[in-house]
C-alpha cells in the first residue's frame, strides 16, 4: 500500500533519477572515448609529424574549432557561400596539421586531418550530451532528460563508429565509405591518370567498347575531393556529349537489410554537405545527361571503420554492375563518366 502511494507521488521522479543515472553511465563512456581519441591523435602526430614542440595544446585548440555556416534567410546563392566556408575550413585544417606535424607528407597530412576531425566530432558529441545532462539535472525537467535518454543508443553507436574511424585514419586503413573510390580505382588501374580539379584524378578507360572517364578522389591519403567539380569539368571538356554518368557510392543501409548489398538507381549518389551534388545536378540538367547510381549498402559503423571483407567483396559485384549498366544504357562508341565517390584513405589508383 505504502509502495503504491510512493509510486503515485514520486514515480515520475524515480523514473527521472533512473534516466539520469543511465545518461551518466553513457557520458562516462563518451568521456573515455573522447579522451582516448585525443590521445591517439596526439600520439599519431608525434609519430608521423616529428614535431619539435609538444602538439598537445594545439590539438586541444583544434578540437574546439568552430565552423559558422552561412545565413540561410535568403537562400539564393547559399551553395557557393557554404562551399567557400568549407574550403576555408579545409585549408585552415591542413595548415594547422602542417604546423603540428612538419615532417608529414601530403598523404599523412590528409590522414592526420581526418584523424583530428574524428577526434573533434567525438569532442562535440561528448559536450552536447554533457550539456543536456547538466541542464536536465539543474532544471529537473523530465522532458530535457527524456529526449536525450531516448536518442542515447543512437548517439553511442555514432560515437563508437567515430572511435573506430579515428583508429583507421591514424593508420591509413581503407574504410567502408571508400567502397565507391575502390570501384573506380579497380576500373582505372593500369591506365594513365591525370589530376583534375581539387584532389581528384581522372583516367580515360576503354570499357565494353565505350570510352569511360573514371573519376575518384586522389588516394591513398584520406580525401573525398570535389567530384562534382571534376564531373562538371569532364562534361564541359566533352561539350556535354556524355551518354550517361554512373556514380558509385556507399549508402546507409536500413536495419534488416544485408550488409554490402549492391543496389542500382538513378540520381547523384553522393553525400556530404550537398554542394557537390548540386554542381552535378546543375551540369547534367544543362545537357540533359542521364545519371545512374550504384550503391553499396552499409551502416554508419561499417562506413567509417576499417573496410569489412563483405564490403571489399561487394566492390567486385559493383564493378560488374557498372559494366552491365554501360552495356544496357549506352551504345558502342559512346562516352560515359564513372565516378567512384567516397573517402580514398588507403586506396591508391
Amino acid at each position: 500500500m505504502l509502495l503504491f502511494v510512493v509510486m503515485i507521488f514520486y514515480g515520475q521522479r524515480i523514473q527521472m533519477y533512473i534516466m539520469i543515472r543511465e545518461i551518466e553511465g553513457s557520458l562516462l563512456r563518451l568521456k573515455f572515448i573522447r579522451d582516448e581519441g585525443r590521445k591517439i591523435a596526439i600520439k599519431t602526430i608525434k609519430e608521423i609529424g616529428k614535431p619539435e614542440i609538444d602538439p598537445t595544446e594545439r590539438v586541444n585548440q583544434f578540437l574546439e574549432h568552430v565552423t559558422i555556416l552561412p545565413q540561410s534567410m535568403d537562400p539564393a546563392g547559399i551553395v557557393w557561400k557554404l562551399e567557400h566556408v568549407l574550403d576555408v575550413r579545409e585549408t585552415r585544417f591542413k595548415d594547422e596539421v602542417k604546423l603540428m606535424a612538419p615532417a608529414a607528407d601530403e598523404t599523412n597530412v590528409n590522414n592526420l586531418e581526418n584523424t583530428l576531425e574524428a577526434a573533434a566530432a567525438l569532442n562535440i558529441i561528448y559536450k552536447v550530451i554533457r550539456h543536456f545532462y547538466i541542464l536536465g539535472k539543474k532544471t529537473l525537467s523530465l522532458y530535457i532528460i527524456m529526449q536525450i535518454q531516448m536518442i542515447l543508443p543512437l548517439i553511442m553507436r555514432e560515437a563508437e563508429a567515430y572511435a573506430s574511424a579515428l583508429k583507421a585514419f591514424s593508420y591509413g586503413q581503407p574504410i567502408g565509405d571508400g567502397a565507391g573510390a575502390l570501384v573506380a580505382a579497380k576500373l582505372m588501374h593500369g591506365h594513365r591518370k591525370k589530376k583534375i580539379e581539387k584532389d581528384c584524378v581522372v583516367a580515360k578507360v576503354p570499357l565494353e567498347g565505350r570510352t569511360a572517364y573514371v573519376i575518384k578522389a586522389e588516394g591513398p591519403g584520406g580525401n573525398v575531393g570535389k567530384p562534382g567539380e571534376a564531373i562538371k569539368r569532364v562534361i564541359e571538356e566533352n561539350d556535354g556529349k556524355i551518354s550517361t554518368i554512373i556514380m558509385i557510392d556507399a549508402a546507409l543501409k536500413l536495419e534488416g537489410e544485408k550488409l554490402a548489398d549492391v543496389a542500382e538507381g538513378v540520381g547523384a549518389a553522393i553525400g556530404g554537405p550537398g554542394t557537390e551534388q548540386y554542381k552535378i545536378e546543375e551540369s547534367i540538367l544543362k545537357y540533359k545527361i542521364p545519371i545512374n547510381a550504384v550503391i553499396i549498402k552499409e551502416d554508419i559503423g561499417d562506413a567509417v571503420s576499417p573496410m569489412r571483407k563483405e564490403i571489399f567483396d561487394a566492390t567486385e559485384v559493383a564493378v560488374e554492375r557498372v559494366k552491365r549498366v554501360i552495356k544496357e544504357r549506352t551504345k558502342e562508341g559512346d562516352t560515359v563518366i564513372i565516378a567512384g565517390i567516397g573517402n580514398s584513405i588507403g586506396v591508391g589508383q
Binding site: K167, P220, G348
Partner: protein, 137 residues
C-alpha cells in the same frame, strides 16, 4: 590506457553504495527478526522473511549492476589483413596490415617469377556474434 581513464572507471556514486549497504543491513535485520518470530511461533514471521528476501535480492541486483558499470572500457583494435598478389603468377601472400599499406600499392618483385607484387586487398573479417533476425526477411 592512461590514468585518467582508470580514474573514470573507478568513479561511481557513493550514495548508491550507501543505499546498497543500508538495504543489506535492513534486510539482514528483517531476516533475523523473522527467525526470532518463527521461534516464538509468531505468524508475522512470514512477512519479515518475505521483506528480508526481497531486500536481499534487490541489493544484490544493485551491487551486480554497479560492478558491471565498473568494467574497464576499451577501444578494441581490430585485426586487419593485407593481401599481396603477384600480377604475373598470382602468388598470394597474406599478412597483418602495416602502416603505409594501401590498396594497389606496388611492393617490388615476386620471389617466384619476378613479376610485380601488389597489395590487392585490405580488409577486416568480422565473426558475427549472433545471426540476424530471419523472421522478416
Amino acid at each position: 590506457m592512461g590514468g585518467e581513464a582508470e580514474k573514470a572507471v573507478r568513479r561511481f556514486s557513493s550514495i548508491v553504495l550507501i543505499v546498497i549497504i543500508v538495504a543489506l543491513v535492513l534486510s539482514s535485520t528483517a531476516l533475523y527478526q523473522a527467525y526470532e518470530l518463527f521461534l516464538s511461533n509468531d505468524p508475522t514471521a512470514g512477512y519479515y522473511l518475505l521483506i528480508g528476501f526481497i531486500g536481499m535480492a534487490l541489493s544484490a541486483y544493485m551491487l551486480i549492476q554497479t560492478k558491471r558499470r565498473m568494467k574497464r572500457f576499451t577501444l578494441k583494435t581490430q585485426p586487419i589483413t593485407t593481401t599481396i598478389v603477384c600480377s604475373k603468377c598470382e602468388f598470394k601472400n597474406v599478412r597483418n596490415f602495416e602502416r603505409g599499406d594501401y590498396i594497389l600499392k606496388e611492393l617490388g618483385s615476386c620471389t617466384k617469377c619476378e613479376g610485380t607484387m601488389m597489395i590487392s586487398a585490405i580488409y577486416r573479417e568480422v565473426k558475427e556474434k549472433r545471426k540476424e533476425e530471419k523472421i522478416f526477411t
